[in-house]
């Protein structure tokens, strides 16, 4: 099981802050494909991947990063701190 978290407009589009996902996905990109299939809202949230960033266990990662051993995967738009 992986806990998937959403922030900012990804959270709003998906309509959830987090969800537990049973997945066999080997990479983030594979997980995204599984998530897209969950609902139209998910599909919309992940329709433009150029504005989606990902962190695995609170560290920034790439879409092709492996998920082996990951407990928490977070999706969010580019950060706007400062």
């Amino acid at each position: 099981m992986i806990e998937v978290l959403y922030f900012a407009w990804l959270r709003e589009r998906v309509g959830e802050r987090s969800e537990m996902i049973e997945t066999g996905a080997a990479t983030v990109a594979e997980l995204v494909n599984e998530l897209r299939a969950r609902s139209e809202a998910h599909a919309l949230a992940f329709s433009d991947m150029t504005s989606v960033r990902v962190a695995i266990d609170q560290g920034m990662a790439d879409m092709d990063a492996p998920l082996a051993g990951a407990r928490e995967v977070a999706f969010f738009p580019p950060m706007t701190g400062g």
Partner: protein, 146 residues
Amino acid sequence: MTVSIQSTPFDMGAEVRRFAESVSGAGAVVTFSGLVRDDDGKLTAMEIEHYPAMTEKAVEKIRKEAMDRWSLLGAVVIHRYGQLEPGEQIMMVATAARHRADAFMAAEFLMDYLKSRAPFWKKEIGPDGEKWVAARDEDEDALARW
């Protein structure tokens, strides 16, 4: 205290004074404060969301990088989240060094990285609705100079 992620306001004067007193041998303290900007008078509030489990870790990593790169005697970062009104202070950084060049450079570095590598997201709330602030290409490009 070197990194604080908080919803409550902070007193910049008191924070800077405390910081300056905590670093011995400093000849320069540089401070920066970011405010909620209201460009066209139509901002009611700014909502700042963050990723609690990651934020402090990410900010501390940026702070440590600054400490490693420049000859600093100290650096602090305070960043707020939650709902803020126009004109309120969102965040501040302060750096201390023997000489000003290190303190200035480190403060700029901290700001550039906090903008695009600290997990905060700003949303503008106005009479016509809400809008997430989009990251700007210039902010990402700014990282290249370091």
